[in-house]
């Protein structure tokens, strides 16, 4: 039983880490203003999509 748990941790651990890392890499836009403030528009937000589409076209 202990071996099975260790094996599960050994396999599931890296998978979880990779999944979390991948989720952290989602498309987003950071806007910086002259007063030092910053706004992040996450992927899926209506305001982010037009900006992400322009950037995607620029990178293609």
């Amino acid at each position: 039983m202990r071996r099975l748990l260790a094996l599960l941790l050994f396999v599931a651990g890296p998978l979880l880490y990779l999944a979390r890392r991948r989720a952290g890499r989602r498309d987003r836009v950071h806007l910086y203003y002259d007063d030092g403030s910053m706004v992040t528009l996450e992927h899926g937000a209506p305001e982010a999509e037009p900006l992400l589409a322009i950037a995607r076209a620029a990178l293609s």
């Binding site: 910086y32 900006l51 990178l59």
Partner: protein
């Protein structure tokens, strides 16, 4: 230093920058690291569209946008502007954003001042009695 020299320094200093284009206040291309005119035009257009879209965004509260990063899985697009001029750059995925912005702003600062408009010469009417 001219704009081409500033971009050359930028690509030498920043290993993360893959391509960069400098635009003047009117949005015209001043210099580019790309040999391909079409890609240069596409990147310049993207910069103007990104700035325009970000400026039109609501909830800015009267603040002026100075720089932006669009981060995608395939890479990032950075735009910074100063004194009317802008610089746009592309990088690979997950760049060190702070460093890229620092290098872009240093590049903008190193550009020569835009030449001032020549002053109109004041003309004086010749006096009839002179």
């Amino acid at each position: 230093m001219d704009a081409a020299g500033a971009l050359s320094d930028l690509t030498e200093i920043s290993s993360q920058v893959e391509a960069a284009v400098v635009l003047d206040a009117a949005g015209a291309v001043v210099a580019s690291t790309l040999d391909d005119a079409e890609r240069t035009a596409r990147l310049a257009r993207a910069a103007l569209e990104l700035l325009d879209a970000a400026d039109k965004r609501g909830q800015t509260g009267g603040r002026a946008l100075t720089q932006l990063e669009a981060a995608l899985r395939e890479g990032s697009v950075f735009v910074a502007r100063r004194d009317g001029r802008s610089i746009v750059a592309t990088t690979s995925a997950e760049p060190t954003s702070g460093l890229v912005f620092y290098d872009l702003k240093a590049c903008l600062r190193s550009l020569p001042e835009t030449p001032a408009k020549p002053k109109r010469r004041r003309t004086t009417k010749a006096r009839a009695d002179a």
